[in-house]
């Protein structure tokens, strides 16, 4: 189908429009309500997210043929892949807003701007998941990045939040600049910015000898700097521990899940649609490069996580490692690999957000982000400790928790392509990761607290906790989530 023109596209663009409208509405409402009632703003933004979800479902059903549609002259594309990520991102944002409502660290700061920024960044991520044009890719990435910088530095009275923002933007700006340079090179080689055409164009010039494979590889590497930065892959991961540690916990959770998911959406679309064709693969096998990056990413993430004392920082490294696992799937270019990534992202969403939620709760109640602060949690707050243990073991990949099934589909896909070495590295990393996750469990269960008073939480807290914990237990055991990804392809 030909790309739709601007006005025709608007209907399919409604989820994004709703987000922007609500972002504006949130800002306006913020001016109207008193400081005490700032929760209303949060609820409004939740409504916005809900409307957006409804719009996604409606537009999806509007498109009866389920064929991918190109919108706005091919700037973005609406397909199952994009829809999947949009829903995933909406869930992550919803969770983040709920976390923020309960986070004492953000309490004084909860202004309309905060929620507006969250809506805006979701908007940017939607675009990341659906961009099919080099310019759109860059703009959406920048939208997300800029908003992330602001959110990371949102606690202006906290030095470490500012520091996080500073490091984030320093690394981020260089990375995006590098990426833009790479994009310009690709643009110069292909003569077009349209991702769908780039593939055939580059293949043509490669075949005619107009471009050396080295040149394409360098360009890809430059682009990878930007995307790799977003998904925190080695060697563009340096920012992430500092930023994760410094940023407010809900934002850390958001960055580690949503930002990473959006990054992977972009990554997959860019590499699969743009450079995954057999013609290109013939001359440039960038997969080996990525496989090595993937192996390094998980190894570095896991090894660096081992000695950490700060749970937030530990989870930051853990999320680097998980990025590495996900990259394995991205290397493959097979439907199995794609399905594995999608499934893993669902699982990762629940278990990682759940873990961060517990971090929020403990930071609120026990006032500590350090592992020592988790001592004796099993007796002080048995349910929270139990949920945390579930999340952590799921992150490790222990059956019957969902994390295991996520890893299972990933390794299955990897081995299916014959990359035994990569699977081995990944699996050994899982074993290593057990050690540091278990340290938190050890503190919670095997050690006794200095302050034996039990912590009390509201029923809402437990409800939200179970929203994450229950899927973490059951997703893998149910049939439906495996078949879900059958419908989503990138070709």
């Amino acid at each position: 189908m030909d790309p739709l023109k601007n006005i025709e596209s608007l209907a399919y663009f409604s989820p994004e429009i709703i987000l922007v409208v609500f972002a504006a509405a949130v800002i306006i409402l913020d001016l109207l309500v008193k400081n005490r009632e700032s929760e209303k703003v949060a609820y409004l933004s939740l409504v916005g997210l809900g409307c957006s979800l409804a719009a996604i479902l409606i537009t999806n059903s509007l498109n009866g043929s389920k064929e991918p549609i190109s919108l706005f002259f091919g700037m973005i594309r609406l397909d199952g892949f994009a829809v999947f990520f949009k829903i995933l991102l909406l869930m992550a944002t919803t969770a983040t807003i709920l976390f923020s409502l309960r986070s004492e660290e953000l309490d004084a700061k909860l202004k309309g701007e905060y929620y507006a920024l969250l809506l805006a960044i979701t908007f940017g991520m939607f675009l990341m998941a659906s961009s099919t044009n080099l310019l759109m890719i860059f703009i959406s990435l920048e939208t997300v990045s800029l908003t992330s910088y602001i959110l990371a530095g949102f606690l202006t009275h906290s030095p470490r939040s500012s520091e996080a923002a500073f490091k984030y933007i320093t690394y981020g700006a260089v990375a995006s600049g590098t990426m833009l340079f790479g994009l310009s090179m690709l643009f110069g080689m292909a003569g077009t910015g349209d991702l769908t055409q780039i593939s055939s164009q580059i293949a043509a010039v490669l075949a005619s000898g107009g471009v050396s494979s080295l040149g394409v590889l360098i360009a890809i590497t430059f682009v990878l700097a930007g995307i790799g930065y977003k998904i925190a892959s080695v060697p563009f991961h340096m920012w992430s521990p500092d930023v994760y540690e410094g940023a407010p916990i809900p934002i850390t959770a958001f960055l580690s899940v949503a930002s990473k998911a959006a990054g992977f959406a972009l990554f997959l679309r860019f590499f699969h649609t743009g450079f995954g064709t057999p013609e290109i693969m013939q001359s440039i096998d960038w997969r080996l490069l990525l496989a090595i990056v993937s192996a390094l990413t998980m190894t570095v993430g896991n090894l660096a996580a081992l000695p950490q004392q700060n749970v937030k920082r530990l989870l930051a490294y853990s999320s680097i490692a998980h990025g590495g696992y996900l990259l394995m799937g991205a290397v493959l270019l097979t439907p199995e690999g794609l399905a594995a990534i999608l499934f893993y992202l669902i699982v990762y969403l629940f278990m990682n957000l759940g873990a961060f939620y517990v971090v929020v709760l403990i930071a609120n109640e026990a006032g500590s982000e350090m592992i020592d602060g988790y001592r004796g949690l099993a007796t002080r707050a048995p349910l929270v400790a139990g949920a945390m243990a579930i999340f952590l073991f799921s992150l490790t990949g222990i059956p019957p928790l969902a994390g295991f099934f996520g890893k299972w589909v990933l390794f299955y896909a990897v081995i299916g392509e014959g990359l035994y070495w990569l699977a081995f590295v990944g699996l050994l990393n899982s074993v290593v990761s057990l050690y540091y996750y278990a340290r938190i469990v050890k503190a919670m269960y095997f050690e006794t607290a200095e302050d034996p008073n039990s912590l009390s939480f509201s029923n809402g807290t437990f409800a939200l906790l179970s929203v994450f914990a229950v899927p973490t237990i059951f997703i893998g055991l149910l049939n439906i989530f495996y078949t879900l990804s059958d419908k989503i392809t990138l070709q």
């Binding site: 099993a378 490790t396 059956p399 299955y412 035994y420 269960y445």
Partner: protein, 508 residues
């Protein structure tokens, strides 16, 4: 249906226990006991009603689970699994009874985790789908980790994480091998056709099909290794054994019982069920192949026997001694399995069951002593035979069974394993008999140091073993004697399945 009920009743029990109020400890214990008795009853029913004359699996349930990977909830029992199910189900209530008084904190969580553990173990022995098999295999890890880590001894954290890491390392290799098997399960003569499968019986028959990718001996060798290392950690086979003494020493009594009684058997069961049945070519490479690796499996068995026995001899911690003796005794299992003939395999399986019973007794006995004296230093006792005659009597029975005294069950398994192994590896088997002598040495020495000689004045008032403790020991003691006198009682459960296996192995 009966089988599924048996597997999931403990899980249901866990939920029930978790819903009970934390304060009503007696109620929790009773409920747990009830929920562990149900599987026992079912296991006995299965054991009795199992048709011993046929080879195939019985009580089969096969329903789709994860369609995307053609994973089924496929369970069923053959003679081997029903025997181990009985063992597991028997140890369940015994362990609950053994935990009755000496678990001081968090009884609710303890019992809940224990029930979860039992589901994992029962499911493992009944699973006939490779994926399900793996999931159940791993399902035992989590509860075990907590049970050791929370209720363990002074170095519990270290022991728990070591146990966890070792086993996880092994299962990771297993996972790779499992995926490889799955991926090759629809490749015949280089052509991919049909759907892939995890179904163990199907895979076994495919692996015997000429030209099938699974039947390729090079492939089988690697896959065999993957699975083998996974199971070897669990057994544990030297050099993957170092987690075991730590775990045993730190774990509470009942958990040691489960660990030695059932968890170690999971490793050897896996070797029989997967490695030998599915990869006979690979098995042949490591048992009667050529070159350096030719006899490696038997060699490992031998090392286990001798190393375990000598280490046990050097221990002064009662529990550690029993733990090392476990390593030694599992060596006989490996040796018997490596023989690959009917005497060897039957002996090995019988030894699995017997060791389950006997080591359970030993750990219970250690626990009884520890509860009274609060230490386990062998040299710190002496002469208590006079104070605790019944305890001494039962201990002597257990020791004698463990050191392979004829007339008690330990002998039959050991002897059959050795007789089988001798037909294949004469020298190694002869050398392995060192283990018998050393086994007698450390047990007798322990008996002497703890029970004989003059009474250590510290233990003037040592109370005799109580009724509840006797109740936990008597069923095991009876089994030890009955199986020693009439081993066919267990052997004819699985001898048909084994001869089937032997035929398959000898066809290579």
């Amino acid at each position: 249906m009966l089988l599924s009920l048996m597997i999931f009743v403990p899980l249901l029990g866990m939920i029930v226990v978790l819903l009970l109020p934390r304060e009503s400890e007696e109620l929790i214990k009773r409920v747990t006991l009830a929920f562990t008795l149900v599987p026992l009853v079912i296991a006995v029913v299965l054991f009795v009603s199992y048709n011993r004359s046929t080879v195939g699996t019985q009580y089969v349930v096969n329903v789709p689970w994860i369609d995307a990977f053609n994973i089924n909830y496929h369970i069923g029992i053959d003679g081997l699994s029903v025997t181990l199910l009985l063992l597991t189900a028997l140890l369940g209530p015994i362990c609950v009874l053994a935990s009755w008084r000496n678990i001081e904190k968090g009884i609710k969580a303890y019992m809940g985790l224990f029930l979860l553990l039992e589901t994992g173990m029962l499911g493992f022995f009944a699973a006939l789908d490779l994926f399900l098999f793996f999931v159940f295999f791993e399902l035992t890890l989590l509860p075990m980790y907590f049970l050791i880590g929370v209720w363990g001894g002074p170095r519990k954290e270290y022991a728990a994480i070591k146990f966890f890491l070792y086993t996880l390392f092994g299962s990771v290799l297993m996972l790779v091998a499992m995926i490889a098997v799955y991926l090759n399960s629809n490749v015949i003569n280089g052509v991919t056709e049909g759907v892939r499968t995890f179904d163990i019986p199907t895979l076994i028959s495919l692996a015997g099909t000429e030209g099938h990718a699974l039947a390729d001996s090079g492939f089988q060798m690697w896959v065999f290794l993957g699975f083998f290392i996974g199971f070897a950690v669990k057994v544990p086979i030297f050099p993957f054994h170092t987690w075991l003494p730590d775990a045993h020493v730190e774990a509470p009594t009942a958990i040691s019982v489960i660990l030695a009684g059932v968890l170690l058997k999971m490793g050897t069961y896996g070797i029989v069920r997967i490695n030998m049945a599915m990869f006979p070519e690979g098995f042949a490479i490591f048992t009667n192949g050529v070159g350096f690796w030719g006899n490696s499996l038997a060699l490992l068995g031998f090392i286990n026997i001798v190393y375990g026995s000598f280490c046990a001899l050097a221990q002064t911690d009662f529990k550690k001694l029993v733990a090392y003796s476990s390593i030694g005794h599992m060596g006989f299992v490996i040796l018997g399995l490596a023989a690959g003939n009917s005497a060897g395999i039957n002996g090995a399986i019988l030894q699995m069951f017997n060791h389950g019973v006997i080591s359970a007794m030993l750990f219970l006995l250690v626990g009884v002593l520890y509860d009274r004296a609060h230490h386990r230093e062998i040299n710190g006792f002496g002469g208590i035979g006079n104070k605790m005659p019944i305890y001494t009597g039962i201990t002597t029975l257990a020791f004698m069974a463990s050191l392979g005294l004829p007339g008690l069950s330990g002998f039959v398994g050991e002897a059959l394993s050795l007789i089988g192994a001798f037909q294949e590896f004469e020298l190694l088997t002869i050398l392995s008999t060192i283990g018998i002598v050393v086994g007698a040495a450390y047990f007798l020495w322990t008996l002497q140091r703890v029970f004989l000689g003059t009474l250590n004045p510290k233990y003037e008032d040592l109370p005799e073993i109580n009724k509840r403790e006797i109740l936990t020991l008597v069923p095991l003691g009876i089994l030890t004697i009955v199986l020693g006198i009439w081993p066919n009682f267990a052997l004819n459960m699985f001898s048909e399945s084994v001869s089937n296996l032997v035929n398959a192995l000898s066809a290579i």
